[in-house]
Structure formats: structure tokens, C-alpha cells
Amino acid sequence: MPADIDLDSHDSVSADLSDRELAGLDALETDDPTDRSRALRAWSSLWPKLAAVAIAILLWQLVVWSHWKADYVLPGPRKVFPTLVDVVKTADFWRAVGNTMQRALFGFGLSVLIGSTVGAAVVRVRVLRTAVGSMITGLQTMPSIVWFPLAIVLFQLNERAILFVVVLGAAPSIANGLINGVDHVPPILIRAGTVLGARGFTLLRSVILPAALPSFVAGLKQGWAFAWRSLMAGELLVAIGNKPSLGVRLDYARTLNDYPLLIAYMIVILVVGIVVDAVFGVADRKVRARRGLLTR
């Protein structure tokens, strides 16, 4: 066979016609994505959230106005927000946030490591799946605070007790995300990968894992939510002296009967949770949009 082939040598008129038909069909069948401006899109997703916050604050204020509880027990936004602003200016607050976030990141990182390892093992080994597959789901449904008595017995009142519970809270979700993702890889993609010559680890790396990524990211997102809850419970229960953290500060505010401060810290904890969740949300949407899994 010749190395170079001139495709147009025969019947060039009809070939040209068919080329034009092809180009016409392509143009007709794909629409140009006319994206709205970035700012406009950001605003359209931002304003409902802002409105929701405003409504929540209004409801809170209404409850305060109703004098359901005494003013000093349930302070209103007008007392809490100045307190919040004052607190945010202190170095102690940022030390507390720093300690808490450090634990959160380390605990979550360890959960990702353990969750992925366990998930991968369960996916690969059939016996393991039968043995621990349903146990992982069981662990996931168990409130992690239940682990604290045991954690305190095992590790005493220290960092490791908190870490233990955070990992037990988050790792099952992450493992499950990976397992579900791999389970639901469309068989045709695996066939396609095999036909292209991917086997074993190559197949895993170039086909199965990328196909499982959306589910894995969803698992990470859920894992974070569990990690954050476990961490807050841990910081409230396992107060570690001379190490300020959000949980400890929250507890102090209650002991000192400083209720505006109490609610201010609650808001901080809520905001941290929402912000990190939003980061996962962005990653989740990116991953799914890439694959055409988002309905616009």
C-alpha cells in the first residue's frame, strides 16, 4: 500500500459536496454556547443566597421581638453582630480558628487517605467487599459522637481522641464514594478501554478512576460534612487546656453566660462549614460539567 494517499483524486466533486454536507450538519447540530458574562452568572447564583440569609436574620429578629425568651438568653442580631465583629478582631479568635482548621484539614486529609485506601481495597478484592462492604455503609449511618466515650477511654482527653472520631466520621463516606463510583462505571467504557489496549492498572488509571471521579468528589463533600460535625462535637467534649479552638470557645461562652458571644461563635462555625462546602460544591460542578452531567 502506498504511504501517501490522495483522497480527492477520485470523484472530487462529489467528495467536496459531501464535505460541505458534513460541515453543514455539524453546524446545525451543535449550538454555540453563548455564555452570559461571568459577573452576571455569579450574581444570579449569589442573590438568592443573600436573600435567604436576610430572611433568616429577620426571622431570628422576629423571635427576639416576640419575647419568647428573655433578651439576655436569646440576644438579637443587633447584639450578636457587634460582638462578632469585636471577636473577629482579637488574636485569640484567629488562634482558635487556626487550631480548629488545622485539626479539620489534618483529620480530613487522613480520612481521604484511609477512606480511599479502604475503598480501593474493597473495590479490588471480592472477599473484602462481601466482608466489609455493608459495614462501611453501617459506619456511615452511625453518629460519630457515639465513638467519643470509647475514644476518650482509648486515647484520653487529647488530640488523638478527636482525630480518631473525625476519621471514623469521614472515612466511610469517602470510601463509599469511591466504591459507588467504580461500581457505576458504564461497562461500555471499560470495554472501550480494553479494546484500546488498557489492562490492569492502566485500565484503572485511565478509565475506571476518571469515570468514578464525580462520585468520589461527592463522597469527599459528604466526608467533609461528617468530619466537620465530628470535629465540633470533639472540641466541645474533649476540651484541651491552653489550646483555644472554636469548640472550646463556644463552650466557654456558655460557661460564662455570654450568650451574644455564644451565638457569634455558632455563626462562625456555620460560616466555615458553608465556605468549605462551597469549595467542594465548585469542584463537584466542575467535574460534572466536564462530563456533560449538569443540566443548565
Partner: protein, 263 residues
């Protein structure tokens, strides 16, 4: 347009069929309740031939392609492709949705063993050009039309530098207009590359439009019941009377086969 055929000439001098299938059987299910997908299936496809398999549901087409592609094992019988590389193209295209059109092609090149990144990129450009999608390389599968996806899939199959191309109802999900144009495309690529094609379809007219030879299959178990050489001169049009009358007589035969299964 000029394309370069970089296929390593394995044994262009060898005579004999590109695909030799003899007495092939494939049984699924338990021993007590066996499902015979293929039984005593024999077929030779000559190098460079365009053969179409036509059959009703249950004729074991997919099983056959899987076995020839090495995705499945025969229960008995032989399949010999003489060491030729085999590519398989699916009805749904089966593109990887997380990769762009170019990424899909480059992955195929990488898995084939093309190590150099720049060589991969250059070859991907050529292949995109080959299926007339040079401008769509950076789009992801969900941003392409069905016909475009199938062309990317075709380019990906060509990226494997296979000498045998198996096609499992590749245009089955497309509208008639797009299918027509893709028939022209496929014929052009087949002529240009000299690849051996084994093409499975439900559509008898499609087979008559494309094939050198049409092989009619019986269902449950799948086996060859008739062969029709197609002597209509190329280029053909799917609406031409010659294609139509050939398709008509094959359809008649196929219907008789389907009636046999009525209970």
C-alpha cells in the same frame, strides 16, 4: 487532502483471509440452561474487504465482535486474525466523557504505545483532520452531535493503527441524513486506508450501500445462512434502484428467517 499511513506493514504479503473464523461456538449461562449465542459460525474476510453482517436480534453479532476483538473467549472453534491489530467501534461511540475529542484520540495513541507527547498531538491532529473535525478537537463528547461523536470514535479506532476495523452498528442511532453522509465518509476512509472492515448492522439498505459482501445471519444460535456479493459499482447512493433491489431481496430472506422463530 492527503493522509499518511503510518501502519507498520506486518505481513502485507501474506495471502489468505484477514479474519478466519471456523466452527465458532459461544455458549452462555449454566450447563443446565445453556444459551447458545453462536454455533458453528464460519466466515472468512479477505484483506481490505468490506463485509457487512446482517441479522435480526439474537444473531450473536455483538458476541462475535467481542470474540474477534479479544474481549471474550470462544467456547469452541477458532478465530485467526493473523496477528493483525483489531479495533472495535461501538454503537454509542463510547467516548470517554471526561476527555476532549482530541484527548480521546491521544489516549488511544498512548495506549497503543506512542510515547512521545508531541508525536501524539501531531497524529491526533491528522486523525481529526481525517474525519473533518479539525476545529472540534477541544470539545468534549457532550458538546458534539451524535454524528460528530461517531466520527471522533472512528478517528479513535484509526488511532489504533489496526488493520481490522470491527463496527457494531456504528450509525444505528443517527438520523438518516447524517448516516448518509457518514456512509460517504466511511467509504472514503476505507478506500484510502485499505483497512479490512467487518460491519454489523440491522439495516439491510445500509449494508447494500457499503459492503463488498453481505453475510446474512440466523438467530439463536447465530450462524451464517447466506452470503450476497454486492456488485453494484461504487460510488453508490443508498437511494439508488440497484441498492434498493438488492436490499429488497435480502430483506425477504431475513424476514423468512425471523418468521421461523414465531411461536
Amino acid at each position: 487532502m492527503t493522509i499518511t499511513d503510518v501502519r507498520n506493514d506486518v505481513d502485507a504479503t501474506t495471502t489468505g483471509p484477514a479474519i478466519h473464523i471456523a466452527g465458532l461456538s459461544r455458549v452462555f449461562g449454566s450447563r443446565a440452561k445453556p444459551v447458545r449465542a453462536l454455533e458453528g459460525f464460519s466466515l472468512d474476510v479477505a484483506p481490505g474487504e468490506f463485509a457487512c453482517l446482517v441479522g435480526a436480534s439474537g444473531c450473536g453479532k455483538t458476541t462475535l465482535l467481542n470474540i474477534v476483538a479479544g474481549l471474550d473467549k470462544a467456547s469452541s472453534g477458532t478465530v485467526d486474525v493473523g496477528g493483525r491489530k483489531v479495533a472495535l467501534m461501538f454503537q454509542e461511540g463510547a467516548l470517554f466523557p471526561w476527555l476532549t475529542a482530541r484527548g480521546n484520540i491521544e489516549l488511544a495513541l498512548k495506549l497503543r504505545g506512542l510515547k512521545d507527547r508531541r508525536a501524539r498531538s501531531a497524529r491526533a491532529d491528522e486523525l481529526l483532520e481525517l474525519v473533518q473535525l479539525a476545529d472540534a478537537g477541544d470539545r468534549r463528547p457532550h458538546e458534539l452531535s451524535g454524528g460528530m461523536r461517531q466520527r471522533v470514535s472512528l478517528a479513535r479506532a484509526f488511532a489504533q493503527d489496526a488493520e481490522i476495523l470491527l463496527m457494531d452498528e456504528p450509525f444505528g442511532a443517527l438520523d438518516a441524513m447524517t448516516r448518509d453522509v457518514l456512509h460517504d465518509e466511511l467509504e472514503r476512509l476505507w478506500k484510502a486506508t485499505g483497512v479490512t472492515i467487518l460491519f454489523v448492522t440491522h439495516n439491510v439498505r445500509e449494508a447494500a450501500r457499503l459492503a463488498d459482501r453481505i453475510v446474512l445471519l440466523a438467530s439463536r444460535p447465530g450462524r451464517v445462512i447466506a452470503e450476497f456479493p454486492v456488485s453494484v459499482t461504487r460510488p453508490r447512493r443508498i437511494e439508488s434502484p440497484e441498492v434498493g433491489s438488492l436490499a429488497g431481496s435480502i430483506t425477504e430472506r431475513l424476514r423468512a428467517e425471523v418468521r421461523r422463530h414465531a411461536r
